[in-house]
Symmetry: C2
Subunit: 386 residues, 2 copies
């Protein structure tokens, strides 16, 4: 599989928070998809594989609306926020296996105008990934939304390793600063200071408002093909050097893990780096799924960018900002660009590796990492190279 | 990909129609899964890939309840009744790509005690695959369930090719006769004559009651691994010689296709046979997704077992019964064994190729075909060999 698939097209819809006249999820996904296909320089009819999101229109609706005449393979990854990267991995698998030539991966939702997470989970507990465990052991204690589930892990990290609110704030600030350089970012004109961060209301201790990602409408998409086909297309291909996914154990219950800090990434990252034949130290930037600030810190540790317990120090002092040792979420991430389920992280990684990020470009970016996090810590990672 | 993956374990729950005290979907899926893993002679901890059904427990619930400690890849195929075979294809892709070693594929639902199709579709139109098309153009005409959608195609076939009610009845009778030889079949003690068939009430012309598959509770599962690993296991491996999937165009609207008889199988079958390097004439038996009788006839034609329009003659005179030219659904199929979304067809194909079907064994079975059909004609096919 190694180095045999490439991302050859990227596309996005606008990222919006407009409750009055939002575009539909289908419309946004089609916009992102057609932009990605056009970016690759492909005719839509060449797409023969679709990896649609679990949140959004069906394979059949997407295929018909795009005008895909011959669809050969389609599957959907159910891993919440980890799904975007695993979907890219699945697309890579399909094109390198010969089951498809050109795969379109699209995610997106109306997370602001329709699917507000807090409302959905509170009214329909069956969508909580832990199923019966969540119903019987979380709900009676009022643990109904992700901010509450993951706060438990963050709190434990503070207890064990002395991680501070200011360190979590450094993550929020880095994302916000990057967003000031990104015209697509929802928070592009909303600068933030550490005082602003510390003054924001507590949502679920230790998470303040500004530890929590945005709720936005929008969609993003990529086109994946084989290395051989990639060379005939419009853009310089970005190579999938390595990819892996994993689920922590037990997958359905974050309160009952022997190792509360384990995520899917703990096992997936070594596999992806081995497949890519590089070390974390070789990585020029990382787009890390940032549903909350602490998850960035946790994934930095679990991916091996630093040892466990050292994440707090790692994120301080601008080290994860542009110009630092490991620029993280150069687009602003879920925290300050948009929450479209992580595919915007993949799009930004490709843009960086093409050298097309303007004033937020990481100089001479050769290798970047994208991660996904979802459903109680399912993890995914792709190592991309130019 | 060719000849590189094997099915090494099969398992089923009981197939039941018990509204009083049914087992849960999770319980049935776990039963089928543990049976398949035990059949392969594997420890559950070796499973590192799950392909769960869109209908049923989440990846996380299945993994935790099975005790899968290290899950590396999971995805879900959304193709209704075509999903079981495409899920096997996906599992083959995962193990041959090196992303997983042992993949568990499981489907099942409580189609009798809980999820009666007619009720679900009537109360929740969002699950109809055509989405907005179905809502705007099918619902106003009362086309709310599969029997109505597919009857349109069957009726057209009768008009164009003179296909008769007796020919559809021959399909129902073949499945029912096979079920008499299968202790697991729900209809094992319910023999049927052509007079019974013709006397059964019309549901949606030309479909009578006995043209429609059963509604049952139950689950079935298989374990897939690479050819190399397969040789160390308990059972003789059954090889995946070829596999393919496809969606007709447009995928979301059966009333608006230039070729109303086209299914996913029309394009998938030639690919699967080419991959397996065999002709339809080389096939010893076929397990064909039989949501309704006509779909068996249609798939026999579209897979290339006979020319279009000749299916009516092909199914007559016992040719698709045991002892005939192409025994079809030797277990009784959805029509007379059970409807667990098609995975029981895969299980039966494996059992035939192992030579373990007792009095319903196809003598010297070397090569068998399994098909899937779902969501307005999405199609899938696997060519299996011993």
């Amino acid at each position: 599989m190694r180095d045999n698939a490439c991302i050859v097209g990227i596309g996005e819809s606008a990222y919006t928070r407009d409750a009055e006249s939002p575009a539909s999820v289908l419309s946004n996904q089609l916009r992102a998809a057609t932009n990605a296909i056009a970016d690759a320089g492909l005719e839509t009819s060449r797409i023969d594989c679709l990896i649609p999101s679990q949140y959004g229109p069906s394979t059949e609706e997407l295929a018909a609306n795009l005008g895909i005449a011959s669809l050969r393979f389609a599957t959907t990854v159910h891993m919440g926020g980890a799904a975007a990267v695993t979907s890219v991995q699945t697309a890579a698998m399909a094109v390198t296996s010969g089951y498809a030539d050109y795969a379109l991966v699209v995610t997106g939702w109306n997370g602001y105008s329709a699917t507000r997470t807090r409302n959905v989970l509170a009214s329909n507990t069956s969508v909580i990934p832990g199923g019966d465990i969540a119903r019987d052991y979380y709900m009676p204690y009022g643990l109904t939304v992700p901010a509450q589930w993951y706060a438990l892990i963050a709190r434990r990290h503070m207890h064990e390793f002395g991680t501070t609110a200011e360190q979590l704030g450094a993550i929020a600030l880095a994302m916000r600063r990057h967003a000031q350089l990104n015209g697509r970012a929802v928070m592009r004109e909303r600068a933030m200071t550490i005082e602003d961060y510390l003054a924001s209301p507590v949502i679920a201790h230790p998470y303040r408002l500004f530890d929590c990602c945005l709720e936005t409408d929008g969609a993003a998409a990529v086109v994946v093909t084989s290395a051989e086909r990639a060379h005939d297309l419009a853009q310089p291909p970005v190579r999938v050097l390595g990819a892996a996914s994993a689920h922590p154990y037990p997958a359905d219950d974050i309160t009952n893990r022997r190792d509360i800090f384990e995520t899917g990434l703990t096992r997936a990252a070594p596999r992806a780096f081995a497949m890519a034949d590089i070390d974390p130290a070789d990585v020029d930037f990382a787009q890390i799924y940032d549903c909350f600030t602490f998850e960035v810190l946790q994934q930095i540790e679990e991916a091996g960018f630093c040892a466990r317990g050292e994440g707090g120090a790692f994120v301080e002092g601008g080290r994860i900002e542009l110009g630092g040792d490991l620029p993280v979420n150069t687009h602003g991430g879920l925290l300050s660009e948009a929450h479209v389920l992580g595919m915007n992280h993949v799009v930004e990684a490709v843009r960086q590796l093409r050298g097309g990020c303007g004033e937020r470009q990481v100089p001479d970016a050769e290798v970047g990492v994208v991660t996904g996090w979802g459903d109680f810590g399912d993890g995914s990672i792709a190592v991309l190279g130019r």
